[in-house]
């Protein structure tokens, strides 16, 4: 069957890169959304081996999956457990969250500094601190998320100033120690990392970050497909679904490979522009749920090792191509 290969050396290369900027002890790696499609267990195990201490996930289910790796912290961004769970830190995304959180839980206050997505505003700080106290929660951290750290404008700086101001305010109102973080992969290039306790690294760890400084990052995921059959097809025959999707122009040898849109290899848009990595071959006809066809006899081909060109074809971002890969695909770690 088709499978995913994860390159440990490349992953460590990427982690080294960010460690050099902020120090290994400040790395917090995104394991959410199945580690951006890479495989949460596989990436967690590589993180552990590297010495990553902090991680963040989407929900309790993901947190429970990685409990066994015993990270120093697992921040859960969008979920509140029904019972106290000592292994996790819960993000407070709104004032209403606070009373739902089991007492004695560690929490981090998410500050909305202009993204208008989730988090609390400056004007709600006093109320939030009061409720955290009232409901016996432990303030473990204060953080924000940048909306536009990949853009070349002053917005991130403005968000950061507002955030610093709020953190200063909170520090003046509590004698508790808490960690402070704001930067994502792009953000570490825009803020002074000495001022903050963590860098939340997502797409950069996976080798994709469209910046001059990061040309040494390496994508770590390759998608492979295995051959189902080889066929000699003749002029005027068709391949796959539809009588008009691909009409053979000359006799040729083609093979059908076992990755399809059911595996998360998107077929939306004009997939006919798509080429696989192996010999840059064009995909012939439509991608099926479980397979596609190219002109080749090889037993195994690399569908992609870098998803940027596919992201362009699909009019989307590399994140989506990666996260959409089915969790059911087998993952192997190389190296």
């Amino acid at each position: 069957m088709g499978y995913i290969e994860l390159n440990k050396k490349s992953f460590f290369n990427n982690l080294d890169y960010f460690s050099n900027i902020c120090g290994r002890e400040k790395l917090s790696i995104a394991l959410k959304d199945n580690a951006y499609g890479h495989g949460i267990l596989e990436v967690a195990s590589m993180c552990k081996e590297y010495g990553v201490e902090h991680t963040f996930v989407k929900n309790i289910k993901e947190a429970n999956l990685i409990k066994k790796f015993d990270f120093k912290s697992i921040l859960v961004l969008y979920d509140i457990p029904k019972k106290y769970n000592k292994n996790i830190i819960i993000s407070i995304n709104s004032i209403k969250d606070i009373k739902k959180i089991p007492k004695n839980s560690k929490v981090e206050l998410k500050i909305d500094t202009g993204m208008n997505r989730n988090g609390i505003y400056k004007s709600q700080i006093d109320l939030a601190l009061e409720l955290i106290e009232k409901y016996n929660l432990i303030l473990n951290g204060v953080f924000t998320h940048f909306c536009c750290a990949d853009e070349d404008n002053g917005i991130t700086l403005k968000q950061m100033k507002l955030f610093d101001n709020i953190v200063f305010d909170i520090k003046s109102k509590t004698d508790k120690n808490f960690r402070v973080h704001c930067a994502n992969s792009h953000g570490v290039f825009k803020v002074d990392m000495k001022k903050y306790d963590l860098a939340r690294i997502g797409i950069g760890a996976y080798g994709y970050l469209d910046r001059d400084e990061t040309r040494f990052l390496k994508p770590i995921l390759k998608l492979y497909a295995k051959k189902i059959t080889t066929k000699k097809v003749k002029k005027d025959e068709t391949i796959g679904y539809g009588s008009d999707a691909f009409i053979v122009k000359k006799d040729m040898i083609v093979s059908n490979y076992d990755i399809g849109y059911g595996d998360g290899f998107l077929r939306v848009g004009d997939i006919k522009q798509a080429r696989v990595s192996t010999k840059n071959k064009k995909i012939l006809g439509r991608v099926s749920m479980d397979s596609f066809t190219i002109e080749s006899k090889k037993n195994k081909i690399c569908v992609f090792k870098n998803v940027n060109s596919l992201a362009k074809i699909h009019n989307t971002i590399n994140y989506e191509i990666l996260t959409t890969l089915s969790p059911y695909l087998k993952r192997y770690i190389k190296g």
Copy 2:
């Protein structure tokens, strides 16, 4: 957290529809690709309750997942186990497959009748039968797949005639009994189901089939999102990622909901055209990996109950919107 609701009544309605055409005992339901994204365990349990006896899946992993339901047959389309497995039937997609199949296995010979994807050709029949005998395999069935059963032309009829001819040939060469099947959801309207032992129903069972006759089929899957936060946003503020993705035109109350492209809710293409089912609200700004925003205060909203309009926006087919839904989303059966 966001979740999927499966409507059992609608599913049984769809199964009734196909039972009326071909008889309940001939139904074989597609559980492959996580039951077209609906959830393989949940759909298998509903199939069992309805009295479905036959199923088909993509690989051994899926077959093992549904073993406990004790269906009369599980046909594995694209995978060969290393050891004999009494619970499954293995599809022969190419001559080369045959020697890899563990002896005593039940096999079904897939005939390529013009799709040029996988399966063996008419000219290879004698060799295939010889090898099945040589490697001690049990010929359980002969089948084909139509490339164009959804199109209004004579191609399916041509494929069917070729298939009938091959089946007749095989019957003359062996005294073994085997089952014969060719029709998918569209195909049952094009062939005489009395002649065949199974109808392989996929998208039709899930309520999507673009034919006049099937207007009584009902989609069975609804995707729900839960609120993370509610915000009052002001004129000229932005929402979500990007400084230009959504600029607020007038003060409004918006909420952020916990479904994103990490859950398989595609963001490719011009998602800004997309509307959720609840009150037909527009999605504001970009869909994030874990959330999106609409103008609403509701605690829960239905993202979709019918994916046809999303399929149009994404320039794809309803199959893809469904199969891309993350297996990690919780599924509930209603009814």
